[in-house]
């Protein structure tokens, strides 16, 4: 039997390298997937421009952050980007609404099949991508400032006397707290407010919603604004947590789509759960358990290799495999989203 201290060390190790990172990554995915699933539920197409919408919103937040920093504005221990967030959301919402009016509304009026809208979203993706690259360039940008850690690994070690440190990054806590607030607010809005209910009704049965006098253009407008806000928040949190690079944001499309489908597309609660499912699977499958096992197993029997199920190079494969399994076993997703 391993000693208690070893078990604690092992748990700390896992918490530090799998649980906490998965919690923040999962929150970011959940916010992204919520946007995708709302667009899907109301406008009924897979929005390929969502990753680039996230990138666009984050870029605006970064530019405003830089400007605030040059003015000497800051939030003390919190990142300045939070101060820039509302402006970034506003700018992103305006841009997506412009794209809706100039691009998507036409296909809605034509009652085009959803795949036409998806292809149109590819065009939007190209343009958003170009705008972002043109303005801020394709390279990595870091914009996190303020306090980096709430508890540093070393402090944790001296505090607890354990071998392993548990570093709690402020971005992790920030991500989780903001996600909690945003998700609660969104669910309250959808369940309780008149417009939120109208959105659900529209998603549920479009013809009947129209017959009930629900104004589709207003619903669509509100949906885009919420999607833009969610995308910007998700993008900024991800960028604070890691770094901002346009291509990485494009690549997040896959885990985000996977999260939305796994949870049940068109189901907000599914998107949240799906986000965490994808994040926890990705991190726990690509984590090297060697050190973890060393604590738990009797001496001499620890594994030779890294004890890693899959190399981190294949983290996309995790979302994909989960996606494929869901499509094979239960195409409606965990919470029975819509499927045609």
């Amino acid at each position: 039997m391993p000693e208690t201290i070893d078990v604690l060390n092992a748990i700390t190790l896992l918490a530090n390298f799998v649980l906490l990172p998965a919690l923040s990554y999962g929150s970011q995915l959940a916010l992204g997937a919520l946007g995708v699933t709302l667009i899907f539920g109301i406008l009924r197409f897979a929005n390929f421009a969502h990753g680039d919408t996230m990138a666009f919103g984050t870029m605006i937040a970064i530019l405003i952050t830089w400007w605030f920093q040059s003015l000497g504005l800051s939030l003390g221990p919190l990142p300045t980007a939070l101060l820039a967030l509302p402006f970034a959301i506003l700018a992103t919402a305006i841009v997506v609404i412009i794209f809706d009016k100039t691009v998507f509304s036409f296909y809605r009026r034509q009652k085009s099949p959803p795949v036409m809208l998806a292809i149109a979203s590819v065009g939007v993706m190209f343009m958003m991508n170009a705008i972002v690259r043109f303005i801020i360039g394709p390279d990595d940008q870091r914009f996190a400032d303020g306090e980096k850690f709430i508890i540093k690994a070393r402090e944790f070690k001296t505090m607890t006397g354990l071998n392993e440190g548990l570093a709690i990054k402020s971005t992790t806590v920030l991500t989780v707290v903001i996600t909690l607030i945003v998700v609660t607010a969104l669910f309250w809005f959808l369940q309780r407010s008149r417009t939120g209910k109208a959105m659900r009704a529209f998603s549920d049965n479009e013809d009947l919603a129209l017959l009930s006098g629900i104004n589709p253009e207003r619903i669509v407008l509100v949906t885009w604004i919420i999607a833009a806000a969610l995308a910007t928040i998700a993008g900024v949190l991800y960028g604070l947590d890691k770094s901002f690079k346009p291509f990485t944001y494009f690549q997040m499309l896959l885990p985000i789509f996977a999260a939305a489908i796994v949870g049940g597309i068109g189901q907000p609660i599914g998107a949240v759960v799906g986000g965490y499912v994808i994040a926890f699977s990705e991190l726990s499958i690509t984590y090297a358990y060697k050190k973890f096992l060393k604590y738990l197993l009797p001496e001499g029997s620890e594994p030779e290799g890294l004890a890693q199920l899959l190399s981190t190079d294949y983290k996309f494969a995790v979302s994909f495999i989960i996606l494929v399994v869901v499509l094979l076993v239960r195409p409606t997703g965990i919470f029975r989203g819509r499927v045609l």
């Binding site: 209910k197 109208a198 659900r200 009704a201 049965n205 013809d207 009947l208 017959l211 009930s212 006098g213």
Partner: protein, 234 residues
């Protein structure tokens, strides 16, 4: 002129005309029933009166006002309630939310209307927190009718409300519809179950190929040998 009337309706869904000059009219507090063989244009006639298809000629008049040019939403706002044949509820929302959505256009207090609906359909009160999609077929139809009642319409249109429900449920639904009629609402109903529908009809229309074939009170048509032979199976 009747309270609601569709006069000399001609039109279709873009291809050949389905309606060829039929006329449907109903008074407040009365039940008008449209029956006829498959493809006679029964549902189409009703949809034309709601504005869901483009009429080539003919007009729709509500309470003396010509509403032919209005959109379906505008007609709903004018006091026409419509219960489609299928997908007539929000399956993912609770019964109460369905009722609230029915009253979406209203800005005044809707609690009394909800209360009236619950009195009319007592089962819905018990199920009000349940998702409408989880209810039985008959209960769903009640939700659908109640949803349409939420605008406090002066006209209620029902497109085959008893399609796919058992005979017992059908009788109950008809009873409820009669009750709704007694509150002063004009009811237009398309029905597949012609015999039962005629029994409750104040005014009945037998449509064939988009034209009026027989018109009269329900009793008259039930007594008419021609109608019995051709449409009621003897």
């Amino acid at each position: 002129m009747s309270y609601l009337a569709g006069v000399d309706l001609v039109g279709g869904y873009g291809g050949a005309d389905i309606l060829n000059g039929c006329t449907i009219a109903v008074e407040r507090g009365q039940i008008a029933v449209i029956v006829g063989p498959n493809g006679a244009g029964k549902s189409t006639a009703m949809k034309a009166m709601l504005g869901l298809l483009q009429l080539r000629t003919g007009q729709v008049v509500l309470d003396g006002e010509d509403i032919t040019a209005l959109s379906p939403q505008a007609r709903v706002a004018k006091g026409i309630g419509f219960v489609p044949q299928t997908s007539n509820i929000f399956t993912g929302m609770t019964v109460e939310e369905n009722l609230q959505m029915g009253a979406y256009l209203r800005t005044d207090d809707i609690t009394p209307t909800i209360e009236q609906c619950y009195e009319l359909f007592p089962i819905l009160r018990d199920k009000r927190k349940q998702a409408a999609g989880e209810l039985s077929g008959g209960q769903r139809q009640q939700v659908a009718v109640a949803r349409a009642m939420m605008t406090e319409p002066s006209v209620l249109m029902l497109d085959e409300p008893t399609a796919g429900v058992s005979p017992i449920v059908m009788d109950e639904l008809f009873d409820r519809i009669i009750e709704v009629g007694r509150t002063g609402v004009a009811i237009v109903m398309v029905e597949q179950n012609a015999r039962q529908a005629l029994q409750i009809a104040d005014q009945a229309y037998v449509l064939v190929s988009g034209e009026n074939r027989h018109t009269g009170s329900g009793e008259e048509l039930l007594a008419d040998a021609n109608v019995r032979k051709s449409f009621l199976g003897g």
